[in-house]
Symmetry: C2
Subunit: 490 residues, 2 copies
């Protein structure tokens, strides 16, 4: 590889002759690991021109570097970083950047340490033989060929402006239309384009809603257990968080504290238990919202892969007074790395959310919006959803059979599909210990503790998902869980 | 097109027989514009199965719809939305969503109206013959073929996990490496991977920095005139904003208020005037930062397309005490729709920025990070940068010649390239009026007013960029500006 001449810049603070400073610059580049053995240096002519020094100065500096074996010359073809050059140290020297003398704890306002951002989900989950991991895409179910075709089409010159332009505030019209005409009607929702905003995934939609609706003086109801990413979002708003315990019928209006400002919930599949809120409970909640004048943020994160008969209509579709903000995501049905979701709400709210989005990140990348719009509107998505549903239903059968055969305990009986099961370990067994004990056996499960906000939450729940594990692996994985549970029992 | 059966959902609130409700559901779909003439309905069997009703019920509802000409039957091939079906009204009926009764002004905390998010830049700028627009990509300079190849490679099955996974907190290692080894050294900066964060464009980087470093009790210095997107960001933090007037040598330490908390600046090319901060001024600013213990956020938004000799080293590279947060962007050199930028700072700061990014949006889409990493590391980027630089230098020559020939006034003489020129209209001429008067003539310029924070700011500046206009169009465009200026002179 040829090292670009532009990557050389003399340190104007450094003392010494030009020749010495050039020598130093190259040696430091090699010692810091930036310039690597075998890479080709710019010619002395080019470097001299770039730095605005005489060619002789560079030639002399290069000669010194050759003498010290930093570089070696290869006849007429130029100078290369020597394969026997002094090695970068283990602790890389960093000549230009001195350690920061800033009191970061004070500057950052004593924020709590960021902690484990991936909540114990190992990045190398694909290396596990029994990955009961939740929320990642399964390459064997994804329609890779058609996704590539749609990306290719979006990359066409015809669509250059859609891909390349700063789109300011507008979303891809094709994607908006698909969401309005196809995604939302499946949930019983009709919405105009000015009631829909495309977001960088559902996380981004929840964040925008929380930012706009909450502050230190307001209160938010969250489900307990619930989605940990939401707890992070609400912590940032400094609102008062009121956890409400969730049973097998999801959030119940009767359990709400008096006069909350915003209620966050996952009615179609409660996260993480999978409970579905029955129709009457939805009406109760909406009635309470109207009477007590609170708003509801409905996270419908997994609706597309509900199995079986038509799902219950979304809260948003039953909403008589425009009090529901509906959040959807393509992360579970397409893939999470795409980072595309959407929110639906009354136009004045969506207008503010759009303005906030513009301040924070301008807009979700046009190319991905375009490609997703094509993939959806050409019908590939529907076909894939059916495949996902069939596959998940089949895997679920195998899961339930294996769970029953091994006598494991399901914490929450769920009728309506999804892609995971919420489990309970026997009394006295720590799910954290179980999770750790299973890892060396190639089994990846998710402990339940991070879903709870309470500091004294029970450590005997765990989640096992079937969105990324093939059916034939499931029985052995469940067997290993059962076997390990026995060894942990007191 | 076949309408997916899943997009039909009975409104459980609706009264009447099942047959009546199905009829209503379809008719409303047509009247709302969701179901369109010629589209094919699901078979009665499928719809019955999906809704959990008898097939006869659906058949009878369909028969009614045919009688009313909402649908028409085509022998054995099924039911279609009739081409002569009742038309959707101008104001689309929205049966399921009632108008919001929420007091949004109160709920949103009396936010100021969002205003014009694209700051008067028309979305149809490509239709102008003389688009002196700033900051959009020029398809004639972009290396489209290689970008497509890099996207294709990133879309390969081999990279499925990089594209599809929820990457939690980590950035693409290839992109990080390129930034560390090639982008930053060009600015004299050496940084480790834990000192770099990939962001959703420079806007997102500035937003993250402002969120972490500012609050109601802190003050921020901004350049006047300056980048309006930054003003939006700072408004959101509720910090005290202190504007400092910018002359031809950029921000001067002597002009700073006492003890600010954070200073935002654009030393390499001041936005919008293009002024470059001389080396001594950089050292002065850094000295002041150390003495008064403030931080500096350096927005190096346009460094890659500096023309001529090696640019001055970034503030960050001269920073003796780790007080500079450096923000870079690929928007100007690749394209803004890509939404990729980065920030460089001390590790404790970057760790917090990463955690905040995860809460707000998780991570920039993996696919785009991967494709950009390939495009950069395969050297296509360097070749393209040289083409951009050559092209912009040539266009600049033509601009300066035409400006001089027409006797227009440059507001700020700039030596070091960039992609725009900051102009001054004669006394008494409003640049807003000029901008509007030029539009019907196919000439697009940008008025200067939005760059000022002061309410009594002068309205006689404008910006003309040459990043999206071919050389041969420039002289006529400048001539039209000059001619129009004359008609506006008092």
């Amino acid at each position: 590889m040829m090292i670009a001449v532009e990557s050389f810049l003399l340190d104007p603070l450094q003392e010494g002759t030009l020749q010495h400073r050039i020598r130093q610059m190259v040696a430091e580049g090699i010692l810091s690991g930036r310039l690597r053995a075998g890479e080709r240096m710019p010619s002395s002519r080019k470097l001299a021109l770039h730095l605005g020094v005489s060619r002789l100065t560079v030639t002399l500096a290069y000669a010194e570097l050759v003498a010290d074996d930093y570089l070696h010359a290869e006849g007429r073809s130029g100078y290369f970083v020597s394969r026997t050059a002094p090695q970068p140290g283990k602790t890389q020297p960093r000549p230009n950047t001195k350690p920061s003398t800033v009191d970061w704890a004070r500057m950052l306002g004593h924020r709590p340490p960021s902690g484990d951002l991936n909540r114990g989900k190992p990045r190398n989950w694909r290396e596990f033989s029994y990955p009961f991991i939740y929320g990642q895409a399964d390459p064997s179910l994804f329609d890779h060929a058609n996704w590539r075709l749609c990306m290719m089409q979006s990359l066409g010159l015809k669509d250059f402006d859609r891909m390349s332009d700063d789109q300011f505030e507008q979303d891809d019209p094709g994607l908006l239309e698909y969401i309005a005409r196809h995604s939302l009607p499946r949930r019983g929702i009709l919405a105009r384009p000015d009631e829909i905003l495309v977001t960088l995934g559902a996380q981004n939609a929840l964040w925008l809603a929380a930012q706009l609706l909450l502050n230190q003086r307001r209160s938010a109801v969250i489900e307990e257990p619930g989605y940990p990413g939401l707890r992070d979002i609400l912590t940032q708003t400094r609102c008062r968080m009121v956890p409400v315990a969730i049973g097998p019928r999801g959030l119940q209006a009767a359990d709400l504290p008096p006069h909350p400002d915003v209620v966050f919930c996952t009615p179609s599949h409660h996260c993480p238990t999978g409970a579905t809120m029955p129709l009457e409970a939805r009406h109760d909640l909406l009635r309470a919202a109207q009477e007590q004048e609170f708003l509801i943020v409905e996270d419908d994160y997994e609706f597309e892969i509900a199995q079986g008969r038509a799902p219950l209509p979304a809260l948003k579709s039953l909403d008589p007074s425009g009090r529901v903000i509906h959040v959807g995501s393509f992360s579970k049905s397409l893939f999470p790395g795409l980072r595309l979701g959407f929110m639906v709400g009354p136009a004045p709210f969506i207008a503010e959310a759009r303005a906030l989005r513009a301040t924070v990140l301008r807009h979700p990348p046009g190319l991905l919006q375009r490609a997703a719009a094509l993939f959806l509107s050409l019908g590939h998505y529907d076909v894939m959803l059916r495949r996902l549903s069939r596959s998940f239903a089949a895997r679920r059968e195998v899961m339930l059979a294996a769970i029953s055969a091994e006598g494991l305990m399901i914490a929450n009986a769920v009728e309506n599909g999804g892609s995971s099961i919420w489990m309970r370990a026997p009394d006295g067994v720590s799910a954290t210990a179980l999770t750790e004990a299973l890892k060396p056996q190639g089994v990846l499960i998710e402990r339940g503790l991070p879903f709870f906000g309470a500091t004294d939450a029970p450590d005997n729940f765990y989640r096992i998902a079937y969105s990324s594990i093939p059916s034939e692996r499931i029985p052995e994985g469940i067997t290993r869980i059962a076997r390990t549970l026995k060894t942990l029992q007191p």
